[in-house]
């Protein structure tokens, strides 16, 4: 029996050293953010999914564009961008991304307008005690209507935290403001890099 356990441990260690990134969850557990999409686009009648792969190259592009930032391992692998439709009319885009925080992963469902500005967002997973503050209109206004460049201008020189104006406007939810800002930037960047060509053809 000891021999079997030893083989097990050796194989485990070998796999640790030879592996890199991929998706960790079984696909049966994938769920579309149906209720959140209805919140973000009440007039949506249907949606169009476009699945793309976030790989090591894309991760490197994020690290170059947003220094001192990285993608969480769950952000690698295949991800879906949803195009919200009202019949045949395009309403906007929906993209879910995760960001690590002091309360575990925060998952945000982003509504993106056709001009690639943030039009709204809701939390899919957020266990911060400040979540209710971050759902208030004054907090959301920090991000809504802004494009990638405008959001990037809200970062401090460290590339990870929001500037003082943003933190003041966040009124007590400053940590969450940092998380939401980083997530918004990565969302717009990845949407443009990975899905940009597909969206231009719609």
């Amino acid at each position: 029996m000891n021999k079997i356990i030893s083989k097990f441990i050796i194989c485990s260690l070998l796999l640790v050293f030879v592996t890199c990134e991929a998706t960790a969850i079984a696909y049966c557990s994938l769920r579309d953010p149906v209720a959140q999409m209805l919140d973000l686009y009440p007039n949506k009648t249907n949606q169009l999914s476009i699945v793309k792969t976030v790989d090591a190259d894309i991760r490197a592009k994020v690290q170059v564009a947003l220094p001192n930032n990285d993608l969480h391992f769950s952000e690698l692998g295949q991800h879906t961008l949803y195009v919200a439709m009202d019949g045949e009319s395009l309403l906007g885009y929906i993209h879910v991304r995760s960001e690590q925080s002091d309360w575990g992963l925060v998952e945000i469902v982003w509504a993106i307008a056709k001009d690639m500005t943030i039009s709204n967002f809701v939390f899919q997973r957020c266990r911060s005690p400040k979540k209710q503050l971050a759902e208030q209109p004054y907090f959301k206004e920090i991000f809504i209507g802004k494009n990638y460049s405008q959001l990037k201008a809200l970062l401090n020189n460290d590339g990870k935290t929001a500037n003082d104006n943003v933190l003041e406007q966040a009124k007590g939810a400053s940590d969450l403001a940092n998380v939401v800002l980083r997530c918004a930037l990565k969302t717009l960047l990845l949407t443009e890099v990975l899905w940009g060509d597909d969206l231009n053809q719609l």
């Binding site: 079997i4 439709m85 309360w103 992963l105």
Partner: protein, 336 residues
């Protein structure tokens, strides 16, 4: 290559293959578009103290997910999980195998969910899927050491049939009629299962669900009603499932069954480490004592491809006078 010839392909494999092939010409997009696939391999070592037995389970398979679309709309999606599974010295022998050193192709999930109906019409799922009952509905346990004992409670975890499901503004529901044949695409000796669950939205920090089950599987008629909840705070989770019901193993003599599961879990800030402890209580009227179990376990995601899991189970009290179970399990899983 004995394993390739000794068993006939099940109707399930035929169903899965044919539905996947039939759906290709009905889509505008290429089949590889919006397709996720992953090779999924695992090796599990079981150390059974009560039986003084060591056993292994090896599985290698394909996990797939495909979204079908038209020009401007999703039509639905398919999930297919087919695994070649080999057991070595495993007792008791699971119903999927003929003896303790057997191997077979096993379908875990294989279903199509049609989602293109109007806003008030439910989605329609057909195929082999997890019965919508209790905690298992929302948490993926396929191929993991973590378990919510759906199979022990209802007679099977997965079954072939049809399911109506939907997420609406404030709640989710799923109602299924299945054949009760478990891995077989057949009703066997009048087997069937009607299962239903309704819950608050599953992405919230507090989720409460109610489930119903009526069915006959393996000659046992069962009725169940259950309440389940998940509460998340910070990186902690407190889950529970309470089920009441009756079993009829011999015609006309229903026996009361009570089942409770409580789980406390914790994840690391980056989700790499997951720890859990479970307490399970199961009381059957015809048995001398109630059975109580304690499970503890952890999984560590070394990379996004490789996960190592450990679990230990101890029977605190048994329903008979046999030796109390003690089981330790180790599993490594690799997805490519």
């Amino acid at each position: 290559m004995e394993f390739l010839t000794k068993k006939q392909p099940s109707k399930g494999v035929v169903f899965f293959t044919s539905t996947m092939l039939l759906s290709i010409p009905n889509c505008y997009a290429d089949f590889t578009e919006n397709l996720r696939w992953s090779l999924d391999g695992s090796a599990r070592l079981n150390l059974d103290n009560a039986r003084d037995n060591t056993s292994q389970i090896y599985a290698i398979g394909l996990d797939t997910h495909k979204v079908f679309t038209s020009d401007n709309s999703d039509i639905g999606y398919a999930v297919g999980q087919v695994y070649f599974t080999k057991i070595h010295n495993l007792t008791p022998v699971p119903f999927l195998f003929d003896n303790k050193n057997d191997s077979d192709f096993i379908i875990r999930e294989a279903h199509l969910n049609y989602t293109a109906g109007t806003s008030w019409l439910p989605n329609i799922r057909v195929g082999h899927f997890i019965l919508p009952f209790g905690l298992e509905e929302a948490i993926d346990t396929n191929g993991r050491l973590l378990d919510y004992y759906l199979g022990a409670n209802l007679g099977t975890k997965l079954d072939w049939g049809i399911d109506f499901n939907k997420v609406v503004k404030h709640l989710e529901y799923s109602i299924s009629y299945t054949l009760g044949g478990k891995d077989k695409l057949d009703s066997i000796d009048g087997s069937y299962a009607v299962t239903a669950r309704i819950s608050s939205l599953s992405h919230q920090n507090l989720v409460i669900g109610g489930s119903l089950f009526n069915g006959k599987i393996d000659g046992v008629s069962r009725n169940r009603v259950a309440l389940d909840w998940r509460y998340y705070w910070h990186t902690y989770g407190f889950f529970g499932e309470l089920a009441l019901g009756e079993d009829d193993k011999e015609l006309g003599s229903f026996q009361t069954e009570k089942y409770a599961l409580l789980e406390f879990n914790k994840t690391s800030l980056n989700d790499q480490l997951k720890l859990y402890g479970q307490f399970i209580f199961r009381d059957k009227a015809q048995l001398k004592y109630a059975e109580k179990l304690v499970n503890i376990g952890l999984s560590y995601q070394f990379t996004s491809r490789f996960e190592l899991s450990l679990a230990a189970m101890k029977q605190v009290s048994t329903s008979n006078d046999f030796k109390k179970k003690k089981l330790a399990r180790i599993q490594m899983r690799y997805r490519y």
